[in-house]
């Protein structure tokens, strides 16, 4: 079991992280990561999918997370220039304790993305996110963000925004 305070802290983190991603606030979003952060979007819904043996949509170590954000900040990442207009709804939050005082927060999301870069289509993204959260200097940071889309293995349109 975790305390109400930990549950609220995890909920607050997940909401804030979603808002910064939705609003393309790249530098603030990047600051939410620990130095050893891993950002993972499998290309499969199989819970046993292993990124060392199977391809992923995203499997970024911290260096590649930095690169992903730098690209978005160049103004020449044309698939996100201008940035998609996005809002995601988050629910079904469950928070569990993990080793070393970390928290594991699982939540569902529905994300509406107006891909305004070409045909101005509204894309709906649905899935479950797992955040591994660690306190660094008294603040929660994420050391893993895993996003499993319900259509992870289907043909997807551009996913170059922060999901």
């Amino acid at each position: 079991m975790i305390s109400d305070a930990d549950y609220k802290a995890a909920l607050g983190f997940v909401y804030k992280e979603a808002r910064l991603a939705d609003e393309a606030r790249y530098a603030e979003w990047l600051a939410l990561w620990t130095d050893d952060g891993v950002y993972w979007v499998p290309a499969s819904t199989d819970p046993a999918a292993n990124p060392d043996t199977h391809i992923s949509h995203v499997y970024d170590n911290r260096g590649r997370i930095d690169t992903r954000v730098k690209l978005l900040q160049t103004g020449h990442r044309y698939s996100q220039e201008p940035a998609s207009l996005m809002r995601r709804l988050i629910s079904n939050l469950e928070v569990e304790p993990a080793a070393n005082g970390e928290l594991v927060a699982g939540s569902n999301f529905v994300l509406g993305e107006l891909a305004i870069q070409a045909k101005r289509e509204l894309h709906w993204w649905v899935g479950r996110t797992t955040h591994h959260l660690r306190r660094v200097d008294g603040e929660l940071r994420m050391c893993l963000k895993k996003v499993v889309l319900v259509n992870a293995a289907e043909p997807l349109p551009n996913l170059s925004f922060l999901i």
């Binding site: 060392d52 690209l71 289509e121 043909p155 997807l156 996913l159």
Partner: protein
Amino acid sequence: MKHRCAANWKALPENDSDGYHLGFVHRALFNTVRSQYQRVVGDERSIKAVIRDWGGGHIEIDWSPGYQGPFEWFGGASGPLVADFVAALECRDGTDVARRRILEGPAHALIFPNLFLGETNIAIVEPVSVEECVHWHTPMFLKGVPAFNGRLLRMAEAGMGPASFLMPEDLTVASRNQLGLHARTAPWLELSRGLNREAVDAHGRTVSHVTDETTNRALWRHYLTVMTDA
């Protein structure tokens, strides 16, 4: 991995084997990290890569004249695992063939009409409707060298697919071009770049500077031929 695109399928084979768009479309990546493609952007006179028209709509970008060392196509891989691989390759194929292979790397070529040999990936383009297609790809693992699989997976994720650092730009531009094709005021698109400097090599293949539209012309010329004969 399957990547959906709001453009006619023919836009993607043309894009996969086009050397002219790199410096513009992929500027975000080239301005951010070093990669093997660094040798094909910047001052045109310093770029040594070439394109080839193999006939029958089959076309190729050959980066290798610009490579200065082995494994540039493989992210500059080095270390004991790579040394073991080179030794095994030299044992099997002889030193000269092995050295050429690790310098040149796998092909970057289009087998007409929709099979793309994307260096360390293999891809196909699937038409869905007039203005929609899917780009499928898989990383290419080397037989007997499982130790390279992790690197090949991470390279594939960086280069190809909806969340990668290259293809989203290509498919965005393809979608914008598709919208542009609805315009009625410009009936022709000009693909004349490099017509003044193409050469024919000893094998009868047309070769030109990597930024020339030789590959684009070869693709469309053959498409017209097969569609007209039908």
